[in-house]
Amino acid sequence: MSLEGLDPVIHAPKRLAAMAVLANATSADFGFLRTHLDVSDSDLSKQMSALEKAGYVAVTKSSRGRGGVTTYRITRAGSTAYRRHLQALRAIVGTTTDALP
């Protein structure tokens, strides 16, 4: 099985799921990602920091309500990296269809 083309930043399942959500949304807030990835606050912060550091997501923090809201959106570089990673996964499993995300 070739691992060529897989992005090590995105390959971790939680980060892949976060990228999949963000690739299909104009933005998602911290609470939505935490609920839908089923992770703790600290774990999500760690995963999103890795994606932010790679330049794959952009973060906006607003002081809305109690404690404020952190919102994420995928960057152009992140979108490209996510598509390439999916293509690599499809190549590994021998799927050429674009029906998958």
Partner: protein
């Protein structure tokens, strides 16, 4: 729904793709229940928008339009906060994309009906907009919920 497999360090590529597909659908299928007041409220808003077109005084018409647009902006901001995510309109799961296309067709038909009614009578146009928008949104919300359930079942 949980969209992440348990394996962190190494995972099956097929599982990764399945997880990614579930996660990709999440912005569309995981949302809080739509309030019951939403369809009639938007219907009344649409009727008010048509009514404003019949206002003779420019200043009053523009002021009314500004109020209606302001209400819409406030509603969108509130709804985005409630939902926590803003789904892309371009990559919806196939079950939901179908409902979105039907809704777009319905919206065009409503617009044509309101324009036709407006040519006849302003009050008729206001009633037409209010009723058709309310009914259309009520039906759309129900169909969307069924489509979201079907998507969740397919990806489970």
């Amino acid at each position: 729904m949980s969209i992440v497999s348990d394996m962190e360090s190494f995972s099956d590529p097929r599982q990764d793709l399945a997880d990614a597909e579930r996660a990709a659908a999440a912005p569309y299928v995981d949302y809080p229940p739509t309030p019951v007041w939403y369809p009639p409220a938007v219907g009344v808003w649409a009727g008010a928008l048509v009514a404003v077109m019949g206002v003779d005084t420019d200043a009053l018409r523009y002021a009314s339009l500004a109020v209606l647009i302001g209400l819409e902006v406030l509603f969108i901001a509130w709804y985005r906060r409630q939902r926590g995510v803003t789904p892309s309109l371009r990559r919806a799961p196939r079950e939901i994309a179908r409902e979105m296309r039907l809704y777009a067709v319905w919206a065009v038909l409503v617009l044509l009906a309101v324009l036709g009614a407006y040519a006849l009578n302003l009050v008729l146009a206001v009633v037409t907009a209010t009723v058709l928008v309310t009914v259309g949104l009520t039906v759309y919300e129900r169909r969307y919920a069924r489509a979201a359930a079907a998507t969740r079942t397919r990806l489970a």
